[in-house]
């Protein structure tokens, strides 16, 4: 029998595959034998091609963004060169731009936020995954945690300004640090609250997927609840938990609105954790609309490129750590 309207070339090697795939002659023959119509076979092919197209669009989008960022940063790269990365002055009047204070601010706030939020995320994940996987309380807590993620970040900024900043200011007065209230510490606190749901949700899902025989075997051997969690559940879900933490970190690195309201927005290098600083996303959001010189605009876009690359690098390192320390 001749192949159907499918014009793609077919090879001899595929005839040995018994897959019901519209693209192989043997496949179409055996599909026919099963009573599938030509239309159904074509639908299979169309479906697969649509999926491939969607995937390609994603890839093209990301590379398109990267290429646009690079192209628009070229004037700034030509004018400032590589010392943009470790320059400490951001002076739009004299056209001297250095991204180092903002790079430091971004990394400091994000990692500090991660440090503060990880105990909470893991605790919520274990609590919802192990102790209360079902029931009204579990649903309530789960929905509340997910609500934290649903609140717009501007609202966190306002809440920070109205509630958190005075509290931090009184804390700073007690410690003896200049009581300004805003700064790296305050923005790390707000970021920590915002990123809890990402690690908590993902962690809860993977902890619930630990197979019962594994846990029951440990219980049967006389392990206590804490011992089961520590030696069976957590090692099993290590990669999932770490992926959740990586997701949280990614969110923290790019967060703009909440941070820009409470970080103090100064271009000087932060001198301590309570000092004001600035992050890359916050600088771009603040200065983009009034950037009146070509080099200034290009320097801001280059800042965006640096942020993009930093996020990519951290994600790659994270994936490497996951694959190194787990068996997946």
């Amino acid at each position: 029998m001749s192949p159907t309207a499918n014009k793609n070339s077919i090879t001899l090697s595929e005839q040995s595959l018994g897959v019901i795939d519209s693209k192989s002659k043997a496949g179409s023959l055996s599909a026919r034998a099963l009573g599938r119509s030509g239309r159904q076979i074509r639908m299979e092919g169309l479906f697969k091609r649509t999926l491939v197209l969607m995937g390609l669009i994603m890839v093209i989008l990301v590379f398109g963004i990267l290429i646009t960022l690079i192209v628009e940063s070229v004037p700034s790269i030509k004018a400032l060169g590589l010392k943009y990365l470790w320059g400490r002055t951001w002076d739009p009047v004299q056209d001297i731009y250095g991204a180092f204070p903002f790079l430091l601010g971004t990394l400091l706030t994000s990692f500090l936020a991660l440090l503060i939020s990880v105990p909470f995320s893991i605790a919520v994940a274990i609590f919802l995954g192990e102790y209360y996987p079902k029931g009204w309380f579990s649903n309530f807590l789960k929905n509340t945690v997910e609500l934290i993620a649903a609140v717009p970040s501007v609202i966190y900024g306002f809440w920070g300004l109205a509630v958190l900043v005075p509290i931090v200011r009184s804390l700073e007065t007690k410690i003896g640090v200049p009581p300004i209230g805003v700064g790296i510490f305050t923005s790390s606190l707000i970021l920590a609250v915002m990123i809890i749901p990402y690690a908590a949700s993902l962690g809860r899902s993977v902890i619930q997927m630990v197979p019962s025989p594994l846990k029951e075997g440990a219980y049967a051997l006389g392990a206590t609840r804490w011992e089961v969690i520590r030696s069976v559940v957590l090692p099993y879900t290590k990669s999932g938990l770490f992926a959740g933490i990586l997701l949280s970190l990614g969110r923290a690195l790019g967060e703009t609105m909440a941070v820009t309201m409470v970080i103090g927005n100064t271009s000087q290098l932060p001198t301590s954790i309570f000092a004001p600083g600035n992050t890359m996303a916050s600088v771009i959001a603040n200065e983009f609309t009034e950037a009146d010189k070509a080099v200034y605009l290009s320097a801001l876009i280059e800042l965006g490129l640096v942020l993009f690359l930093v996020t990519t690098v951290i994600n790659m390192i994270g994936k490497r750590v996951i694959s190194r320390f787990t068996n997946d």
Partner: protein
Amino acid sequence: MKKNLFNSKFFTAAVMLSIFSFMGCGGGEGGGKTDSTAAASSSGDDNALIGAGSSFDNPLFSKMFSEYNKMNGLKVNYQSVGSGAGISQLTNKTVDFGASDAPMNGKQDSAVSAPVLHIPVTAGAVALSYNLAEVKDTLKLTPTILAEIFLGKITKWNDPKIVAANKGVKLPATGIVVAHRSDGSGTTNIFTTYLSKVNEDWSAKVGKGSSVNWPVGLGGKGTEGVAGMVKQTPGAIGYIELAYAIQNNMAYAKVQNKAGNFITPTIASVTAAANITIPPDSKISLTNTEAADGYPISGFSWVLIYKDQKYNSRSSDRAGKLLNLISWMIHDGQQYSSPLTYAPLSPAAVAVADAILKSATYDGKAILQ
């Protein structure tokens, strides 16, 4: 050879799509499409004008344009995107007029293809607001004190220099927390221009602009951000628009002007600051004004139009409507300024603005008689 997905037609189609989309984004740096002849400036709808620029002018323009619409039905669509964006939209000829708190600088001038007229339409002031709950009198600040506070040299409120300027006022030993704008802004431009004029140290170290490298202080987004910081932080001082300070009942300082008088920022003192000799192109900064009763940290806000209105197939009708609108804004429209706490133009400014408007041409002929 194993058939793989790279041979399929779909993949080729996807790659072609991506190439075309990259070609689209390759043209036009920063400002987007420059050949937008589809822009409304050449559209048939001559009964609607488009403007963009300063957010400082936005409340005043909203009121003015709605009143003008009631008078003769002309609709004006103003987008408050910031002075810099307004200038670049005018450069790209996508708007009829731009609005800016600072005259176009050298780089913007060279980017524009034809001469641009600057017409002053209103003036505003920058007030220095502070948070000292114990001090009931209005503080007096000299230019030197201001510059040194913002340079970080004066760090406490009971510094001898401040005490000397405010005899009889008990100043606490609180530390000074400086608040400035984190976003680019015309208000910053006016304030830093003033500081550059009155203090050489500032001029050398920091300079002037919509965005500068502040030596000390916290940044707040927008005037609301700075005002919020000042209200919340004891011992804070920040610069905000006068209109905002008045409407929110914030304490602000008297500043010593060039003539040596301590002037409170009010609508009257801003108008007085503008009552000086204004150059014919009106590109003057009102800071450190010569006027004896003028507030030294004031500034014009300008409407920008092309001198030759015949471009991009604009009709003479449209040009006429635009010029009539601006002419109304500087004469009858000024009645709406004071209720909104903007300073009306001084007689000297109106005279210069009139002369500039008369120099606008269409096809070589003056539009306004």
